[in-house]
Amino acid sequence: MAVLSVTNLSVVKRDRLLFENLNFAVEQGGLLYVKGQNGAGKTSMLRVLAGLVVADSGEVFFSQQNIQDCRENYHQNLVYFGHKLGINQTLSAVENLQYWCKQHQVAIPVDTIFSTLVQLNLVGLEDMPVANLSAGQQRRVALARFWFKQDAKLWILDEPFTALDTQGIDLLSKQITKFLSGGGAVVMTSHQALRLDYPTDELILEYRI
């Protein structure tokens, strides 16, 4: 069954048509890799898919239901990772993640948060304000979400590999593969070549003038 499907999607941004009449579906265990130049509308599309922005025309369905009608259920099953990390600079990594878990009604003990941060190579930085961490480390803190929301059905990732080192890329790639083989669906963009050992569907957005 299609986790996410899209019919006749069009988005206009600042009087420029980014794409029109887009139709696709992502099945359980499916990975959709959105490609395109800068400005082609990848981020805009992902924001529409996540339900942050309403498309100019067309509909997005989550398990056959329009996402406008099942917003709560949809968001319970979604993990979105955008350009903005969603990490407060003044709070520490642990505080940020605890807040995120409470917000998304995920019951995760503090020990698990600590051990996940260890896995993400952030030992000793757990209690430091996030502003003191490097760009890559801040991304790792935000990425910890993908270790927490176990029952999610869909991940949407916008350029997740930016600023990560090779070890970080491997770690995240592994987590994505694990999620996919567990029946999850993933939509992602990336300018790096994907190093996932998994069959990939590609969607190419053309830059329009």
Partner: protein
């Protein structure tokens, strides 16, 4: 419910850690009010006439200074996006954020107000009337202000625009609040003015959360 408590706790913790930023509107409030006795002269009668108005105008201006903090950081770092993508209801979350904001940046002004009333030679009945109008009226400032912050948070440097949008809206509140204190100065009843401010407050309490949530969603585009 747990999610809303988490927002409240987080916002209070953040306010405590950014207390230097939080102090600025408060110092502004004190300084503006202490300028008046210096500029107008220490004549008690004159100060009593302008006093309530001065305190209210200063309260409105300093609340505008701190208002932008309400959603700015969360918008810029993406916390707001994540909040919208959680199953927490956005109007409820917005209301909790406004409450946290009122507790951290407006309540201190009210606590400071006896000192300032002394600067301006307000009599005791005048001070009590002023306190009541502040307690009923300032939550209204936060609620209505939050709608405008929600609308302007997507534009960078919405600071002055925010003031231009909000100041005209606060005029009715200012009129009723100062008229209540004037009545108190003349030993008259001022329940009517308080009732009107209270009605405005309850009305905005009921509707503003939805307007704030809508404004925040619009700002995401």
């Amino acid at each position: 419910m747990a999610a809303l408590m988490a927002i409240l706790k987080r916002d209070l913790a953040l306010a405590y850690r950014q207390r230097a930023e939080l102090m600025q509107p408060m110092l502004f409030f004190i300084l503006v009010i202490s300028l008046f006795p210096l500029a107008v002269g220490p004549e008690p009668k004159t100060l009593q006439i302008i006093g309530p108005g001065v305190i209210w105008v200063a309260a409105i201006l300093s609340s505008l200074l701190g208002l932008e903090r309400l959603f700015r950081d969360d918008f810029q770092d993406g916390s707001l996006e994540q909040l919208m993508l959680s199953s927490t209801s956005l109007p409820a979350a917005a209301l909790v954020k406004v409450v946290a904001h009122w507790l951290t940046s407006i309540l201190p002004l009210i606590i400071l107000s006896p000192l300032l009333a002394l600067f301006l030679h307000l009599s005791e009945p005048m001070y009590w009337a002023l306190l009541k109008t502040l307690l009923l009226g300032t939550p209204l400032l936060s609620l209505i202000g939050a709608i405008a912050v929600g609308l302007t948070v997507g534009l960078n440097r919405g600071g002055v625009l925010l003031a231009l949008l909000l100041l005209p809206v606060f005029i009715p509140l200012l009129i009723f609040a100062t008229s209540a204190v004037e009545s108190a100065a003349m030993q008259l009843q001022y329940t009517a003015q308080l009732a009107i401010i209270g009605a405005m407050f309850l009305f905005s309490l009921a509707l503003a959360p939805f307007a704030i949530a809508y404004a925040l969603r619009v700002s995401q585009t």
